[in-house]
């Protein structure tokens, strides 16, 4: 089950990745061979089988919505690639 170069480009955009020509060629080849391998799953008849998303089959757990102490903003901002005062700085999003 081959994946096309165009599909790889589309998925890369969804994943916010970009590739050089060489990488694009390599990822197309590698993803195709991995997808060939996982196509093996279609051999199994799974009609009527419930999917598992958590092996312990845990249910949602709820708690009261209480105000608790959190991190000081200054500690969180220490890892910011770019900041101004108590804000994260990002490239302009709205055209001005």
């Amino acid at each position: 089950m081959a994946i096309s170069r165009e599909e790889v480009l589309h998925v890369a955009h969804l994943a916010r990745l970009e590739f050089s020509e060489e990488e694009l060629e390599r990822f197309t080849r590698e993803l195709s061979s991995i997808l060939d391998y996982v196509a093996k799953l279609s051999e199994v008849d799974t009609s009527g089988v419930e999917p598992t998303y958590n092996a312990l089959r845990l249910e949602n757990r709820f708690r009261e919505d209480e105000v608790r102490e959190s991190f000081p903003a200054e500690e969180i901002l220490r890892n910011a690639p770019e900041r101004e005062g108590s804000s994260f700085v990002v490239p302009r999003v709205i055209k001005g």
């Binding site: 599909e7 916010r16 990822f27 993803l31 999917p51 092996a55 312990l56 690639p81």
Partner: protein, 482 residues
Amino acid sequence: MEERSILSLRERLRRRELSAEELTRYFLERIERLDPKVKAYITVTPEEALAQAREADRRLSSGEDLPLLGIPVAIKDNICTRGVRTTCASRILENFVPPYDATVVERLKAAGAVILGKTNLDEFAMGSSTENSAFFPTRNPWNLERVPGGSSGGSAAAVSAWLCAGALGSDTGGSIRQPASFCGVVGFKPTYGRVSRYGLVAFASSLDQIGPLSRTVADAALLLQVIGGPDPRDSTSYPEPQPDYLSELERSPEGLRIGIPRECFSEGLSEEVRRVLDGALQAVKDMGCEIKEVSLPHLEYALPAYYIIAPAEASSNLARYDGVKYGLRVSGRDLMDMYKKTRSQGFGPEVKRRIMLGTYALSAGYYEAFYRKASQIRTLIIRDFEEAFSEVDLILMPASPTPAFRLGEKTDDPLQMYLSDIYTIPVNLAGLPGLSLPVGFTEEGLPVGVQIIGPQLADAPVLRLGHTLEKTLGLNLQPPLE
């Protein structure tokens, strides 16, 4: 230094034959001398470690008794440590300094442990050889031309080379058990939910589990006792308290029914590994256990199902690395360009491969055929284990199909690398406890591990069988490094 284990060090610390500071200096000296060859650590924190050791000495002399008081340990570098950078062996987190400790780190500190540093891994724990680290590969202390396994290769190599008394790793598809097998140490992946994941950098949340790597099964039991148990900050942590693992170890395994899955001993298993495992099996029989053949008919589908489920969860979890709040930022002409440049320069090839695979599997039109299908197969794999565990108490199977391979041997073929985890992945899919225990050597002198698996929450019986088997075999597990 005599017997290499946490429990024996603890006795000597308690008897005041040795101070925590002396012990910490001993390990720091070994790291300085031997780690340039092994390269197990990304970050070593001598000052913090010595401060913690001196504090431990104060408490020891005032008669305080804590489970790990003064014991030097190492932490895989995808587990957050307050004030100490946590890189995940990725360029994207190269300078990330967490503002908090993971629950497991908090618990280690509360138990008096001394933290020596952070160990190497495959980037974001994606890999089976530690060659996917963005910084450098770690080497196997038994043979420096061989890989230590992965992704917790740094932790496994550090324990093996005695560059720490014990370590934490994480295991999503075998990342504790396979490197333990390659490096001749004990590695335990507890039941999913036994150990809080709060502060573990997420890879595949329904599979990730933190666990110990150590020289002995008793040490693994002790470390698990400290780090495990419910945590309100992880809603998937198991709500009931843990049993007392150490006292459970002393019960005799006689009469336990041990299952051998016939599918594990067919094609793909190396002859040398088979020979060593046959010896281990005989030892288990001699201990008075009953051996029974069982079947896991969907075993061959575990690996392909995993390579849908894990990348799907990873592609979602790794969406957070966008260059905005922390981590690397590469500037671009606009926001989209900044995202793309940051992620493309920040992630290595294996991480990109998995993000791509996961994004594809979750994308419109493919979700049913891939993600849902794989999750249904996950149910069938769980049923296979349930069926097997209706006839036996524990299962014995290989930890890895081969001993440690050479550096560079599998880096050009992702699928070959993935096959290294063929026996460990089903255990994560089913959320089971799995122990990897060294049980012998190849002719070349490389260690080989066996895997002991139990039903969900049967962590204690798994450790008990491992402990008895370890005592019976009495292997010498010092690598020829010095």
